[in-house]
Symmetry: C2
Subunit: 460 residues, 2 copies
């Protein structure tokens, strides 16, 4: 069986056995059977528990071998680490080829744990099965109603494929919902980033891949796969354990060897992987890569109803090595017609005085500003900071701006909202697909990464 | 009249004249009379407009001199810049000592504008009046129901004094409401940061001062006042125009000379002013300084239900030159009792396995962790990352944690929420005064600044 077929047993199983299913119920019961039913899994669910007849309304089986039909995926939520090897062996004897081990106390712990993890690995290798974990929440796939996490996880069907080493991400970072599919490789004794990437590589539902990395084991293999996959789909990575203090903590979390951060950074760049510095940036990059085109050059146009915001946007460009574009003469001329004589229409464009002088509404002048900037071949992306929009007009104004952006599909337009009603205006614009960010600094960080990927795709 | 008395005419006026009040009404009418009525101003309001008998239901006067009573504050919202000097002169002839000029086109524009601004300054100096602006939204003081902005501004009565050079902040940055009092010095032809700081210096309602700076004119005076005031109250500053590109833009916004950023940075530090790098950090520092005690050392305790989060917290400490505290032996011993034998209870504390092993609920183990860490003299601050809290228990759990924090009033406790229900849990904890931040990185940035201020106050 090739890797993708193996991974499909995890991600698209027709049947799941929970080996060591609990009889507890309700919140904080960590009942995976219940979670699977909640998430709407349509395949067969086989609870295994020698002391139960039924679990969450489903027939329970005393042991794995008693399950009547074939089983694609087994999840073992047992915390008594010494009993795990036997349970894994029983799964392989039943012919199960995909096994999730949930409990901790393996390579994340002590010498005995490391030996046990090694034993698990030998068992699955011998039978041609694959192991996810230990220390893993398993997998999630919203389009299958599949979620093997024992904690409550809200899922959203975004075209994102997540690979992580912590349940934190699985539980919904940077949002409070899992944004798409998820694979928690955790201790990564067997299935590592390379296998997970290969699953997402040609998965039609996945447009963007997000990695949370504590450490990489087989660096050469990882880079080979990552380089190939990132030609097809953007990969965004948050690397934790990037400092000595973090690396020490990672050792007792997933048993990962974090490696030197500068080497890691260079390796990610070489693979075309875009690195997020923190959770905020991860959220921004997810938004940017899902909603915006790549940025083809380094020239930014700033259109703002506030001079103060325009300055911050110019600062933010400089911080990310982006340029405040020099407009071409016709663009400046067209905007100068609306401006008071004492003001030069330029980039950044501070259009509040233009609105006062021309007696046109600020939204109208803003639209002209954004449109004219986008039409200028000297501009590669636009930052727009609007002012107050009357609540009854917000939806219509958003639509107008969406149309303007659509006419320039090769140039990202990023928004920063401020002031009165900002939350409501943001919600409406976001619902129409506009990319609104929390600050100019966060916009330019995202733009720089959209440009980084553009450059990567241009290179050989 | 001393500076504070002069500033009180702006901030606590008994009567306000709007010289050149518009007859338009509703949103986007920029009607200051209407805004003043909306904000609940209880003093006298005198609209001045030669073409109107009434404005927003109030008697209008043909000119300033026709106003019957004394006037503390005049606001001139006229955009025809050439007519402003005359209107200012009429105000001074009426004996008005506090004047806001709203229009642009002065030092922010061309030579003629600079000359006009100089003329305004001469007029007020001659009569012992003070000028705020030009290019200013004026002042706001929630406890007086006062807001002279012509745009819609929502006010919250937090004990914050803002001094800014852009209406953007006045309109509600980093929140979408003005958090306390506001003074928009804008072009700062006359009233500059030093005057505004002196007003807040002994104002009983102001506990924290926030500055948005594009440029400082009289650096020596500014530093002298700032150094004195920051001994009494924390001052947080966001410096815009910190790059060459930003400085160019600032020149045509408020006519500010931005100065070299490294010199600025050193000057701010010397004054004990805490600098925010961006809007996100400004929001975090406002929260930190209002809700948390200063941090007395550099040692951080990390208590987390997620090993992945603990690693990110350790990384974040290293980035801000904070230490992951080495716990004292009794603290470790007490926590080890709950831990599985294969796990060392240490800092960072990953308490999920402790909850499983000890069969105590995660919130209970979390409370013990936070309490024991705070009680350890080796720990100066705690970062807590909790897991899932059942909705019906959130309020009670928050109360318990508030009590724990209150027992250690000299140590900041910062929270990072994640996962399922994070938004709701955050809202409840925030409403009880807990300081919740958006990421570990943002926590350690805030902690570092709480420590910076502690060090400043220890120095001579």
């Amino acid at each position: 069986m090739d890797v993708v077929s193996q991974m499909k047993l995890f991600m698209e199983p027709r049947s799941v056995a929970i080996v060591g299913a609990t009889r507890r119920t309700g919140p904080l019961s960590f009942n995976i059977v219940e979670r699977l039913l909640d998430s709407g899994f349509q395949g067969k669910i086989y609870p295994v528990n020698p002391e139960a007849d039924q679990i969450s309304g489903l027939k329970a089986y005393p042991s794995t071998k008693d399950i009547p039909g074939p089983v694609d995926l087994a999840v073992i939520p047992i915390w008594e680490r010494s009993s795990v090897p036997d349970l894994v062996r029983q799964c392989t004897e039943k012919g199960i080829k995909a096994i999730v081990v949930v409990g901790q106390g393996f390579a994340d712990a002590d010498d005995e744990g490391r030996a046990l993890q090694q034993e698990l690995l030998s068992i699955v290798r011998e039978r041609g099965a694959r192991l996810l974990g230990p220390n893993s929440l398993g997998v999630a796939n919203p389009s299958q109603g599949l979620n093997t996490a024992f904690i409550n996880v809200r899922m959203e069907s975004l075209p994102i494929g997540l690979v992580c080493q912590s349940g934190l991400f699985f539980g919904g970072l940077p949002a409070s919902a899992l944004l798409g599919k998820g694979i928690d490789i955790a201790n990564a004794s067997d299935i590592h980033f390379a296998e997970a990437l290969q699953y997402y590589e040609d998965d039609a539902e996945t447009k963007l891949i997000v990695l949370h990395i504590e450490g990489v084991r087989d660096g050469r293999k990882f880079m080979e796969v990552a380089r190939r996959v990132s030609r097809k789909k953007p990969i965004v990575a948050l690397k934790a354990a990037r400092t000595e203090q973090g690396a020490r903590a990672a050792q007792s979390h997933t048993g990962s060897l974090a490696g030197r951060d500068d080497i890691f950074d260079a390796a990610l760049k070489q693979c075309g992987i875009v690195r997020a510095r923190d959770i905020d940036e991860l959220a921004d990059l997810i938004k940017a890569f899902l909603r915006l085109p790549l940025m083809r050059g380094r020239e930014v146009g700033i259109v703002s109803t506030s001079g103060g915001a325009a300055i911050m946007a110019a600062d933010a460009c400089a911080s990310e090595n982006l340029e405040v574009a020099r407009l071409s003469a016709p663009t400046k001329g067209g905007l100068q017609e609306l401006s008071p004589p004492w003001m030069r229409a330029t980039n950044p464009l501070d259009y509040w005085p233009m609105s006062i002088h021309s007696r046109k509404s600020a939204p109208e002048v803003g639209k002209k500003g954004v449109r004219d900037f986008l039409a200028d071949h000297k501009v590669d992306a636009v930052i727009h900071v609007p002012g107050y929009y009357p609540p009854q007009d917000v939806s219509r104004i958003a639509k107008d701006f969406v149309h303007i952006s659509e006419a320039f599909p090769e140039k990202p337009v990023c928004w920063w909202m401020s002031g009165y009603h900002a939350a409501e205006v943001t919600a409406e614009f976001e619902s129409q697909g506009v990319a609104v960010f929390a600050s100019c600094e966060r916009i330019t960080r995202a733009l720089a990464k959209l440009h980084q990927r553009w450059q990567f795709l241009q290179s050989d």
